[in-house]
């Protein structure tokens, strides 16, 4: 093993500096609150859509919770983290580092502070309330700031505020059908044709929606709320002649599912068979004529 001269370790070489804060900042706000230069051992800040000049913009202390905000030239709060002073162990790894994950408004990772329980607890001494700082007071050195570009689609936000990222599935359901078109050609002034991956959305409904509703809302899956009806598809009409022979034919509905029963046709202009519907929803067949029924006087 070759002999060597060991250089100061990375962390200890920065112990007496304001790192990860810039060496030119005061670390003191207008109210006189001072952030000790060693409060953080290291940091790596990468907020999505972050701008230049990342700095510690606000420290909020309330009943055992310390909230740190980082800001930049574009916003005073691009990411935050909440630290429970009484539970610093949960942020502390087996190596003894307290690693505090910053997250943005959509709960996406936006960076880390490296510290120790002892160092971070200094913020508890700030007293309850908001303690704000400006960029020239708490700017971080550029090497720990690596804003992530916010180009492209970073996620889909749903009405309830949840965010979808990664490979997002779009699923057509309940009468909505999605389809994919390989190419779509669109012309404009400069480009004759452009090919886009295209998602087509059709809302065509569900013809058997009643069955679906019964199945979805059924509190007891073992019991069918929906029984498939036994439909009448046609009426088989059988005519029997006086000689006893019979012939039959099938009366099928029209295009709208209707069947009509009527009591006469053009060949029997004076037919006495009457077919009528009553207000009670009854199809009544009767013969017109006088009755021989005698009513007793």
């Amino acid at each position: 093993m070759p002999s060597q001269i060991r250089h100061p370790e990375w962390r200890s070489s920065l112990d007496d500096t304001s790192y990860p804060f810039s060496p030119v900042v005061s670390l003191k706000n207008s109210a006189g609150m001072v952030i000790p230069s060693g409060v953080f051992i290291d940091a790596h800040l990468y907020p999505i859509g972050g701008d230049c000049g990342t700095y510690l913009s606000k420290v909020v202390v309330s009943s055992g919770i310390i909230t740190l905000h980082i800001g930049d030239d574009g916003s005073e709060s691009v990411a935050t983290t909440e630290i429970a002073i009484n539970a610093l162990d949960q942020y502390t790894s087996t190596s003894g580092d307290t690693v505090i994950q910053l997250k943005d408004a959509y709960q996406r990772p936006a960076g880390v502070f490296i510290s120790t329980p002892l160092r971070i607890s200094i913020f508890a001494g700030f007293g309850s309330g908001e303690h704000t700082f400006t960029k020239d007071q708490t700017e971080f050195v550029a090497t720990v700031c690596m804003p992530t570009p916010a180009i492209g689609v970073r996620g889909v936000i749903l009405p309830d505020g949840s965010t979808l990222t990664g490979d997002v599935w779009l699923v057509g359901g309940s009468g909505v059908i999605l389809s994919y078109l390989d190419t779509e050609v669109i012309g404009n002034c400069d480009v004759l044709s452009v090919e886009y991956p295209t998602i087509r959305i059709d809302a065509v409904g569900d013809p058997l929606f009643l069955r679906r509703l019964c199945e979805v809302e059924n509190p007891n899956p073992d019991e069918d709320l929906f029984l498939t009806p036994k439909f009448i598809r046609a009426i088989n009409v059988v005519n029997t002649s006086e000689e006893g022979s019979s012939n039959s034919w099938e009366a099928v509905p029209d295009a709208h599912g209707r069947i009509f029963v009527q009591g006469n046709d053009s060949l029997a202009a004076k037919a006495s068979l009457r077919v009528r519907t009553t207000s009670e929803g009854t199809l009544e067949l009767s013969v017109a004529g006088s009755s021989n029924y005698q009513v007793d006087a």
Partner: protein, 336 residues
Amino acid sequence: MPRPGWYNDNINRSFPFLVGKVGNAYSGTLTSLKNLPDYFIVDCGFTFGDDVEFEAATDSFYLSRLSRSGGVIEFVFKSDASELSKYPIRFTRTIFDMEYSVEYVDSDSPDSPESTSESIPETCRQPFWSGYLVTGDMSLIADALIDGMTIEEDGVAIVEPSLVQNLSGTQLSSLSLANDDRTRATSPCIPEEDQYEWPFAILPEGESYEIKRCITGDVRFKPGYNVSISVDQNTNTILFGVGVGTGEGTPCEEVKVFPTEVGPLAASTPFSNSLLEGGPLCNELVRSINGMGGPLVQIQGGQGVIIIPDPGENKIIIDVNLNNMDLCAFSTYSIG
């Protein structure tokens, strides 16, 4: 007076590893990563991809394996984050590489064909994590690591936690399409063998038919039947609306939930249509008789007519028997 540079500093201290985790003195042969000399690795950094679940507070990443085979030396980094641990990053060097050689490498992905039976398009495969490694003087490394040696230890050579950029859940990498199954008709007949049959496997409840995986690039949404799409630029919102006749209007035929969908096998259904859900067309059901709709239509015999039901034969006999009516010996009137 010139001062040592960044790499030069690091070949003489623990960085990029935590102090005390590596660089412990040893004699003889290098057999443990605890003794990894500082000049082996002078810098490294890692970026976690979109699918990684990494808890910065508790999970760490470390040099897991160091091996030499002939003139090739392999450095393998892993993390103790659950799934991440299965997909290490492997850097390779030859003993003839220059001092401070830099290499950028991607890890395997759970979506790669070797890792899953599922066919994931190449455009959708993303490395779990990526990283770079800067090594020191390879001649010194070759001297310390004898040919055929492999050192493998988890959780020893832990890397400084600030050397990771965790981009988990920070981008919409792709879109995939699927459709829920349509509601399918069933036969009113109870026996199983009398149920309608489809020439494809019907998915169980809760599963969907996959249409397209991993759509990337500039995606366009197109309104189809009864759909309108608009954009609210103030809120950066795409609004999907539904209204009869909007978009491409009202469909004249059914839209398939997957491209090869067809109706039930003809032999298994009493209907001669080819409707995808297996139901009847409007003209295949009696929906009303003389304007009276179901589900129950009552037929009543009035004067001179008797209705004789025969449920066992599914038969209704309409007997125009002129019962209780005055009848002439000869009549010019027709009954029906």
